[in-house]
């Protein structure tokens, strides 16, 4: 079942098209990576899901219902541009946000106490935000986002501003929320965390979804039969053995021997390559070179932009 479905969303601002026929579906309990270069339209889509703005065309469905105002209480949103009331006390502020999300004062207090204890920040309750460091304020902000146990959590660059220890804390909390059944949309440029956390992704570029699917599907899509082969023997022999049948991308000496990156053209298989190599060289290891998300991101965006430029 899908927690969220955006169908054919189009949004334009005075002549500039922010989203063009964008569709995504986010399965319940998944972490969904919303990727894309700056200005691609991610924030516009997130704002539409949060009902901050409405789409010009298209529909958003939440848990099988057309999106309606009451749904904001089931969504938690941590925007990239975030802040708190500097002069307000931490406790008062958290209570305010929790009640805006529909919690009663009593519920809010109990849940806050729980979170404050877990983060070890009970002593901050009566402190003003302006007396906290940036990282501390970010923690408070994270709590206010997740306190009402939203079914859908939208996190826009959640790790920015955190030191590695606190980033790890947030990462673990995200996984805990996921295990408790929350669905998460994660918008980030940190491709490492995409690989680590996301089940599915959608890559938005120039207002359109140009790539989507599970992380594995996307990676498979970008596999191009390239292998890393560690061998011993003369490097020159490798080149001669390959001839024109295979594409030698690189061939460099390594600590343990020589390492070559070779791409197998369509119609041929790894066995064909190995058959050729085994004649003259001793093979130590063979690994497929699978592109990481960072490379996929760059490749997909560049290919799309180049195709549009033509």
């Amino acid at each position: 079942m899908n927690t969220l479905e955006a169908r054919n969303i189009t949004k334009a601002y005075s002549g500039h098209v922010a989203l063009k026929d964008v569709s995504i579906s986010v399965k319940k309990g998944n972490v969904f990576g919303l990727l894309g270069p700056n200005g691609a339209g991610k924030t516009s889509l997130i704002r539409i899901i949060n009902q901050i703005t409405g789409p010009d065309n298209g529909e958003v469905w939440f848990n099988g219902e057309k999106l309606k105002p009451e749904h904001v209480e089931k969504i938690g949103y941590l925007p990239e541009e975030r802040g708190l009331y500097k002069k307000m006390k931490v406790g008062e502020q958290c209570m305010y946000f929790a009640q805006l999300k529909g919690l009663s004062a009593k519920e809010a207090k109990a849940k806050l106490m729980d979170w404050f204890t877990r983060f070890g920040i009970e002593a901050w309750w009566d402190k003003k935000i302006e007396d906290l460091s940036k990282g501390m304020a970010q923690k408070v902000q994270f709590i206010t986002t997740v306190l009402h146990e939203p079914e859908l959590l939208i996190l826009d660059e959640p790790f920015s501003g955190f030191d590695p220890i606190n980033a790890e804390l947030i990462r673990n909390e995200m996984l805990r929320l996921k295990n408790n059944g929350s669905t998460i949309i994660l918008s980030t440029h940190d491709m490492g965390s995409v690989e680590e956390l996301c089940d599915e992704i959608a890559l938005i570029n120039r207002s359109q979804v140009i790539l989507s699917g599970t992380v594995q599907e996307v990676k498979n899509h970008f596999r191009n039969q390239t292998f890393r082969i560690e061998y011993s023997g003369y490097a020159m022999d490798l080149g001669i053995a390959l001839g024109a049948a295979f594409e030698l991308i690189s061939n460099t000496p390594d600590e343990s021997g020589n390492v070559a990156i070779i791409r197998i053209p369509e119609g041929r298989k790894l066995n064909d390559l190995l058959a050729v190599l085994l004649k003259d060289l001793q093979i130590i290891s063979v690994n497929e070179v699978v592109p990481d998300m960072n490379e996929i991101f760059i490749k997909a965006v560049n290919e799309f932009n180049n195709a549009q430029a033509v």
Partner: protein, 448 residues
């Protein structure tokens, strides 16, 4: 709890808990009362002792005012020595140096023509208060007048019956209750105008600052993912408006207390000059007791002021005017990124408001002018102007102005809130650039 109530509560509590609010609320009335009483006392009382030397070269006044009375054993009716003013006469003109070194503080020099045309030279070591100058001038006028009557061989009684001024006794047939005190009543209304003007400015700017703060803090996006921008804007406006009302009510209460306390400290009200009572009561911010009014002729017009109408109109225009202007201030806040950028849009708000204030002041001087009718109806000026008009009372022939003005204010408020709301919902999410008027118009027309 309803979200808009939550926002109102936050906006209200954050502000009333501020030290600056508490200090201003406590000190405001004291400052006001103190300033007013102080100013009146300074104006009325000049504690300096003045010794006036009147140089009368021909000796006419010396004979008439001093010698003759001395001879007859009567007390002289003019140039009486009082605590703060004593007179000495001489026929010998001193040099400036001699005057400087003398014990006289003021010197009035008559010459041969002064007896005829009344032109005298007035030398001072330090300029006395206007009140002291007036007293000296009046004494000299009366004295010279009597001398001239005698000189021309006229009978004093005949002269008095010839010299009669004209008094216009006002009877306003449209407003029979107002009697001749229309101007004073307008003055009371002007006091209320001043309060509305002040509160719209102070608290309207707070609304604008609040919006800018939420924008620059980047908190806005979090909030409007929970509430609609319109709810946030209205919550903010109403919350801050309530802070203003709270401060106003507390000021009235504390001012009352302050006046009573200051009155007690200064002694009984008999020692307070008559028009001071008037001043205190005429200013609604300071309050006053009705028993003082009844015994005090200069302030009896206060009984003619239609207080119920005035208080009702005050609440209506206070709230209506604030909502109208505050939504404009909110739209300005949403259209900019920082305080300094607001200057581009501020004239739209400040010019009508200041203009309304100027019209009110003008109306006070000319209570039934057409200007008042026009600007009392226009919504941007009516909250300030209508206070003066209401204080003078309404009747069947002109009450339509009040009704039209109120309806227009409601209509304008609804329209302005709608436009401001549309600018607001787009503006709060726009960072890093200053909006132009063209863009604002686009924002108003955005759908979705």
């Amino acid at each position: 709890m309803n979200k808009i109530l939550l926002i109102i509560k936050r906006e209200y509590l954050v502000r009333v808990k501020k030290k600056s609010f508490i200090i201003m609320t406590l000190l405001g009335p004291l400052l006001f009362a103190g300033l007013m009483i102080g100013a009146v006392f300074v104006a009325l009382s000049d504690s300096t002792q003045h010794n006036v030397l009147i140089v009368d070269p021909a000796g006419y006044l010396i004979k008439q005012e001093v010698a003759d009375y001395k001879a007859s054993g009567l007390e002289r009716p003019r140039f009486k020595d009082t605590e703060d003013l004593t007179y000495e006469f001489t026929t010998i003109t001193p040099t400036e140096e001699e005057f400087k070194n003398s014990h006289h503080s003021l010197w009035v020099q008559l010459d041969s023509v002064s007896y005829g045309d009344g032109m005298c030279e007035f030398y001072v070591k330090k300029l006395p208060s206007l009140e002291v100058q007036n007293r000296i001038q009046e004494e000299l006028e009366a004295s010279l007048e009597q001398w001239r009557v005698k000189k021309f061989g006229m009978d004093w009684k005949t002269y008095q019956s010839v010299k009669q001024g004209v008094t216009l006794n006002t009877h306003n047939v449209e407003k029979p209750d107002s009697g001749e005190h229309l101007r004073e009543m307008a003055g009371v209304g002007f006091g209320f105008s001043l309060i509305i003007y002040m509160f719209i400015f102070i608290y309207g700017v707070q609304v604008m600052r609040g919006v800018i703060e939420e924008k620059t803090n980047r908190i806005i996006e979090v909030i409007i993912s929970s509430v609609k921008p319109f709810q946030l804007m209205m919550g903010k406006i109403i919350g801050i408006g309530l802070v203003g009302l709270t401060q106003f009510v507390l000021w009235v209460v504390f001012s009352g207390i302050a006046v009573v306390v200051i009155g007690m400290v200064m002694g009984t009200s008999a020692e307070v000059p008559g028009n001071l009572n008037g001043e205190m009561i005429a200013n609604p911010g300071v309050g006053g007791s009705m028993s003082l009014i009844e015994n005090s002729e200069p302030v009896s017009f206060l009984l003619n002021v239609p207080w119920m109408q005035l208080i009702f109109a005050f609440l209506f225009y206070f709230i209506g005017g604030f909502l109208l202007y505050a939504s404009l201030f909110a739209a300005i806040g949403a259209a900019v990124d920082q305080d300094t950028d607001t200057q581009q849009f501020m004239p739209f708000v400040t010019i009508p408001l200041v203009f309304g204030f100027i019209v009110s002041e003008f109306l006070w001087q000319n209570p039934e002018g057409t200007t008042g009718t026009i600007f009392g109806i226009l919504p941007l000026t009516s909250p300030v102007v209508m206070m003066v008009k209401t204080a003078m009372g309404w009747n069947s022939s002109n009450v339509w102005e009040l009704i039209v003005s109120m309806l227009l204010l409601i209509g304008a408020f609804v329209g302005t809130v709608w436009v401001a709301g549309r600018i607001y919902r787009v503006g709060i999410l726009m960072y890093g650039k200053k909006a132009t008027y063209k863009e604002l118009w686009k924002w108003v027309r955005y759908k979705g």
